[in-house]
Symmetry: C2
Subunit: 366 residues, 2 copies
């Protein structure tokens, strides 16, 4: 078991990772809040609840009230949030109630946003069950939902009281989701942790074989990167943007394929391939470094084929919410284990990078 | 012109009240933010924009992008917020955009909430045009919308960069709305400012006749009360609850009449009548004080007749969002110019107070 502290100007809490957390939640939360409030709500998906509901509820004296979010990015909407808020109101939820978001990244984002706005904010706990949500989205307080115009266009910063990342939950995770989630760990390694780069290069089989020790090591290191960055830049005014490595074209890919073809991690994986190319072209990394890091990405692949035009991706990136006043902010790797943000990436450069990425996708799936 | 400083742990900004602010906004905002961002959005109502749009836009080098919220509590919903957010995204709104909420309380609550969640929060300015929103809702950072289950059940704390309360805007305010808005000033006087109690008793004709000096005095004093309380208790953990004098039964009245019969201020006016009775019964004020303060309320009436049963109001008060864990928090006046929160008001006591209020309504409209 490992504990990573998140400490920002507005919040201080622990991310705990290890095995067997789900079945021992109530006493762990009580250690933080004192007595549990009268009403505890758990926002979850029907699938997760079917698999883990009994273990989850077991540690609570009174069973939490389960609220269900149908699976899929298509339900990450304001109207889902409204439906859940109405159910909470009907069940007597008040400002002292506690919410637990128990599931993957979508459950975490929607549940966290619900907690952020229900009665102008109630406390909540994240219990992420996918690798992606454990290493990335559950840490840092970002919550939100999509609009038809783009991903995560409405949301809030609302930190949880704690995050419990139970490695045991990954046992039931489909292989494709495991590999997709590992893309965020690859990202963490590339931007901030060259030791993790090496570890992931050398332990591919252990990690993909779900060896608990190897997984805990990768997960804890990834969370440490995320927490370290968030601690320095809570509101994404500067440094925190490096966490978006691969996300500019990643989001564009997801948008252009209507969030139906690629898992988020897969889109980020391809986006990083493009970013590495752009970095090599600019000279912030050498050809050799670019090759090494792209190989690392593919070690945790296969990334799916891509059927989209580069120009469409560039256009889709135009509404990326990380652009301030139209300037294109872009995250570039600097050597191995470092990254920076540049503001002068042109549409042409972005298109070249996208072309490279699409060509690689064609090659690898030939 | 008067400037009142709001200073909380999370924000520091000025509330400016005076005449002629609407037509000089751009330079005033620039004094705060430096250069105006590329995209300035104004959330407003069609009515306000028809009356004031030209004056408003006049001081901007480039006209702000107007987004319209249809009037009425029925549009204070998450789906209105979503519609506005989509329009902002389509118009290229980004994290650096500025939003101005220009209108009454509903526009301020919806516009502020939109600013709180658009791309996880963008800066905004409040330009309240009704007395109610000038003296109350525009100050303090509370934003939100209604659910069918209750008023303001979802929202956020998000402070504006500044509030500009232009007294000139009140010239076009219907008389009934003026009187309703003054109920929040009466409330401010009762809970925190005995000098304002006296002033409002002695200057009824000046205030209702919209004498600018009298209005500015009442508005500035009311804002000062609100700001003073918010400065001490930003998140409504304790003291800030005294701002809810009259609101427990006020909200219940609005809910029971489906937000169609009473203006918010009128509901609060009646709620204060009930609270004064409860306070007198408990002995926190004398009969003489209760009579004096109730007279003050009626001086700024008439409050409309009420057709609802007391039991229904008590039930409606059960879901009031100020209740934590089922305990009934209730604001009681203490003498003249002070108030406190009690937690042990029983349903029976609440019903007695509601009965008194309903009897007074019947008497006054006999």
């Amino acid at each position: 078991m490992q504990t990573i502290r998140v400490e920002t100007p507005s919040a201080r809490y622990d991310v705990i990772t290890g095995s067997g957390l789900i079945s021992t939640l109530a006493p762990r939360i009580e250690r933080i809040v004192g007595q549990l409030p009268r009403r505890v709500f758990v926002v979850t998906s029907p699938e997760i609840w079917a698999l883990w509901g009994e273990a989850f509820a077991g540690s609570f004296a009174e069973a939490p009230i389960a609220l269900f979010l149908a699976p899929g990015e298509g339900h990450k909407t304001l109207s889902s949030v409204e439906k859940l808020a109405r159910q909470m109101a009907e069940a007597g939820g008040d400002r002292g109630s506690l919410l637990i978001a128990f599931g993957g990244g979508i459950v975490g984002d929607v549940g966290g946003f619900l907690a952020a706005i229900y009665m102008r904010g109630i406390p909540y706990v994240q219990v992420p069950t996918t690798l992606l949500s454990q290493v990335d989205s559950s840490v840092g307080g970002k919550t939100g939902v999509n609009l038809p115009e783009g991903k995560n266009l409405v949301g809030n910063f609302h930190h949880p009281l704690a995050v419990f990342a139970d490695i045991a939950a990954l046992g039931t995770l489909p292989d494709r989701e495991l590999r997709a989630g590992l893309m965020e760990s690859v990202k963490a390694a590339i931007i901030r942790d060259r030791t993790l780069v090496r570890f992931m290069e050398e332990h591919v089989n252990d990690v993909l074989g779900r060896d608990p020790k190897a997984l805990e090591k990768v997960i804890a290191a990834s969370i440490r990167v995320k927490a370290g960055v968030v601690n320095l830049d809570e509101r994404e005014n500067g440094l925190r943007m490096i966490l978006n490595l691969g996300h500019t074209l990643g989001h564009a890919l997801e948008q252009a394929t209507h969030y139906k073809v690629l898992l988020h991690g897969e889109a980020v994986g391809w986006g990083m391939v493009a970013a590495l190319h752009l970095a090599k072209e600019r000279g912030t990394i050498t050809s050799r470094q670019a090759e090494r890091l792209e190989s690392l990405i593919h070690l945790y692949g296969p990334l799916p084929p891509l059927k989209v035009r580069a120009a469409k991706l560039v256009a889709a990136a135009g509404l990326d919410k990380k652009n301030i006043g139209g300037v294109r902010r872009f995250v570039l790797p600097l050597g191995i284990g470092d990254a920076g943000v540049v503001q002068d990436v042109s549409a042409a450069e972005l298109e070249t990078a996208a072309e490279y990425m699409l060509a690689r996708a064609t090659e690898l799936h030939a």
